[in-house]
């Protein structure tokens, strides 16, 4: 009898536990939040962590100093994707290339709502991991790629795939990467970062590569055109970390100035090697160059060399450790400088806003690994 009662208890316990177990959190299904941000604003694209799918988009209003984080997801009830690479604004639309998701989003810059998207599957297999977008006009935009030997052409209004430009480059160690696009007349300059020293010259009429510029340093990573039509190119020098032959290249970043018309390299300056230069930007007039090289440096585009003293020193903590600056851009409307600090690469990063005179105006937290700014 006693044993039967215990058995009953056990059965009851089992039933109770099963009922408890049935309780569960449902999967997230967020509603779409309404935004209406008119006027000037700053988009901060946060890469997130590779293979985590936690890239996010933040929005900052410089006048109210209010920041909204995760606006893409909040406005659209879907994730931005894995490894947001770049954001480009054109005519009220922000184009966000999310590299490892194989997608380019087009969102409204006021409501943050998705207007359309171009996915790898729509491009007849010519786009794999989109990196940067350049919008030529309302009907034509170009997207570069980390892996594909093509530059994808699409309609930025309808997001319809239009075609491609073959980079016509021999694969460098198996890769045919294209990065940033700088327009100059009917020419597009496209730097090839991955295992390359080349800058491609593309004729937009022929939609073909017609020439290239070969640098002495490896891996051109950033490229800009100043007010004098000089092309500024920053390389990272490859991945040589210890001088051994199994490492790639010499690890010495270089800063080049190239005349866009003649395509002649006018200056070549090696930079600090203890930490790679990650970004550069121009002021609104295009006559001043900002470069992250541990600290932030500023130079007139007519200067022969980068200044010895930094313009803004990377903030240090009480023990002298310097923030790692991860992203940089200059607001073309007021000249304010935006610097991103990734902290430990696994937590919400911090954005610093400086005036054009180098005074700290504001700082705020955004998403993981903030790397790219776009201004409307």
């Amino acid at each position: 009898m006693y044993a039967s009662a215990r058995m009953s208890n056990l059965c009851m316990l089992s039933v109770a536990l099963v009922l408890l177990a049935a309780c569960n959190h449902s999967s997230p299904g967020l509603s779409e939040e309404d935004f209406s941000h008119q006027g000037r604003g700053v988009f901060i694209l946060c890469e997130g962590n590779f293979q985590a799918g936690n890239s996010t988009l933040s929005y900052y209003d410089p006048s109210t100093r209010k920041v909204e984080n995760g606006v893409f997801q909040r406005a659209n009830d879907r994730k931005l994707g894995d490894t947001g690479q770049s954001i480009t604004i054109d005519r009220g639309t922000a184009y966000i290339a999310v590299e490892n998701s194989g997608i380019i989003w087009a969102i409204d810059t006021e409501t943050f709502r998705v207007k359309g998207q171009l996915t790898a599957g729509q491009t007849e297999q010519h786009m794999i991991n989109p990196r940067y977008v350049y919008v030529s006009n309302a009907e034509k935009a170009y997207a570069t790629d980390l892996y594909a030997p093509y530059i994808t052409i699409f309609n930025p209004t309808t997001l319809a795939y239009r075609g491609y430009i073959s980079t016509a480059q021999p694969q460098a160690y198996g890769y045919s990467n294209t990065e940033r696009i700088v327009p100059y007349g009917q020419t597009l300059f496209v730097n090839c970062w991955c295992y390359s020293r080349s800058i491609l010259v593309i004729d937009t009429q022929q939609e073909a590569v017609t020439d290239s510029i070969v640098l002495s340093s490896w891996q051109p990573k950033a490229m800009l055109l100043d007010c004098h039509n000089k092309l500024w190119v920053l390389t990272d020098g490859g991945y040589g970390t210890d001088g051994s032959t199994s490492s790639f290249s010499d690890n010495v970043p270089h800063l080049y100035r190239i005349d866009a018309a003649t395509r002649r390299i006018e200056s070549d300056e090696p930079l600090d090697t203890d930490e790679a230069s990650v970004e550069m930007a121009l002021n609104p007039r295009g006559d001043t160059l900002y470069i992250i090289n541990n600290d932030l440096y500023r130079m007139a585009v007519t200067d022969a060399h980068l200044s010895v003293r930094p313009f803004i020193k990377a903030p240090k903590d009480s023990q002298g450790r310097r923030h790692k600056l991860y992203g940089l851009n200059v607001n073309p409307y007021d000249g304010d400088i935006y610097l991103a600090d990734a902290v430990d690469y696994s937590q919400a990063g911090v954005v610093y806003r400086y005036s054009r005179e180098g005074q700290l105006v504001d700082h705020f937290r955004v998403g993981i690994n903030p790397s790219c700014f776009a201004f409307k």
């Binding site: 039967s4 999967s27 995760g70 790898a120 297999q125 923030h323 696994s346």
Partner: protein
Amino acid sequence: MRICARSLLCLLAAPAFLHAREADDEAIPERRDTLRTVQVTATRRLRDTGLQMTRLDTLALRENISLSVADVLTQHSTLFIKSYGRATESTAEFRGTSPSHTQVLWNGMRFNSPMLGTMDFSLIPSYFVDDATLYHGASSLAVTDGGLGGAIELRTRSSAQEGLRGQYVQGIGSYETFDQFLRLSYQSGRHWSANTRLSYGTSENDFRYTNYDKKVDERDAQAGIVRSYHPRERNRSGYFDDINLMQDVAYNDLHGNRWGATVWCTTSKRGLPFLSVDYKDDSDFKNEQTLTAVRSVATYDHTASQWNIGFKAGYAHQNLGYDYHTTRADVQTDITRSRSYVNTVFLQATADLLPAPGWMLTASAATYYNHVRSWDRSPFHIGDNFDTGRWEGHATAQLRWRPRERFTMAAVLREDIYRTDMQVPIPALMADYLLVRPWQLTLKASVARNQRYPSMDDLYYKPGGNPDLKAEKGFTYDAGLSWHRQVGGYEVGGSVTGFDSYISDWIQWTPNTKGFWVPENVKRVHAYGVESSLNASTPEVRGWKAQLTANYAFTPSINRGRRVNSDDASYGKQLCYVPRHSTNFTVRLTWRQWELTYHWIHYSERFTTTSNETRYITGRLLPYYMNNVAVGRRFQWRNVHASLRLAVNNLFDNEYVTVLSRPMPPRNYALYLEISPLWKKHAKH
């Protein structure tokens, strides 16, 4: 009402007693039809002095052929298993530490990859393990170094049953999953025994799920949104194709000498599932991991009345490949292509001496030689990552002393050397005291230093490897109670252990500004908490029998390392992907030839950022609850025993992820048919 109140009381009280069963004896309960009946005794072994250890129930290891050791640990231990889904990487974390702080031994040989420092438990079918023991915290020093969280010892055993025996299991499951397992064992006159196991598992693993990370907008001609919805998608590139073959053979001369050898071969091909936020078409890509591995261990043991000696020699080879490339016709693009070849040679000698009553001295020396050649092609590196060998030497002395019948203490001293880098000696002290004899209520305590030497990837990988890395250092102490009582066929046991651990020079890989990752000794972690377990079983009453095992762990694991800079918000926060609460229970009800098994597993929320962000939906993973149920029936005929078992996993069809952007399967089913022929010799019995 009274019964109901009692049940609820039990329910509420259960978590306080939870913890995996600690075996205080050599016996292992086994299934009646195919495995020998065992007798549970409560002898305190001198060898187990002060050890906080959990022996996994054989029933758990043999529940079904689809389970890997990762699944068994999820269901039956306090460990946190970080899994990307079936047949994808699954790592184990003890007490809020990292996967590399869990050391794994297979038949005495270290099983962690010397290259990565971790172990993928999804690659170990539970049917290929006969005995699994978990050593928590300081107790791991009794078997190996480097287990800052703990260690897991996996063993295979030769057949203990006379004559030829066979077992075949056929599993058929959802998503075109097929599992086959064959085991043949033979023992002759108690001298020779041999055991052959073969398993073959394949699956498309292309389950459908609602993808909440995506949303489809249907638009009209004016591009206005007519309707939006989260699409139903299938798990892409999640297939697997695993073959395992194990052969062991043993000879016992019945005069104290025993020779044995085990060889285990694995070949595995696994698709790596696409992220839920990936918009690429999987038909254009191949994203696949391949593994070919051979592991072997030969042993010799001599047992005398006052001393034992044992020798082991082992060899392991592993060829691990990873390919991610487009399969387009016009241009072949390798996104990533990597290969690593790992060879390990292992030698060990162990001696136990019982010089006087109540004294036991154990000494062992082991050496490993690991050679790794690793190369890859990716946007960040081309060519050899490294091609190097590393010699390791390990020596251990353990002294155990039982000055009184109720009190036992042990001291362990380890010395480890990696290449020419002599490590600081590691001491550990353990003790236990029998408080209440009828309940076998025992107080256990231990304190130890420990350290983990960096893996070969940590040191040599190019680009990024850091040859200046120091060993991670740990200091841990714990104390707890365990008990066991058997009255009139009712059996109850359990344990509660509190622990406190400090780990400094924690190695963390962070990306540098060029995009590749670099390891550094940056973190300092304080991990503390409670592990508990409860197990209970009833005698058979009118054909009914019930069994309950439950585990609970409270594992705050707090970053106390120096801040990267003043913006670093990770100080004082829980480590990423470490739950503070882990709970599971298993209820097993049998009635005559029927059996019902119910598993419930819970992990509390896990943060995905070091600063424990909750402002973003991607900042944390929601608490995880899982319910699995299986019902089976045994059949016994004259010449064959058989069983049929239906398993329902994710019973309540929960939609969940255990890692960001990695969807897990909805409710799914599997049917297992097991056949064990009774050949001439034992069919007579």
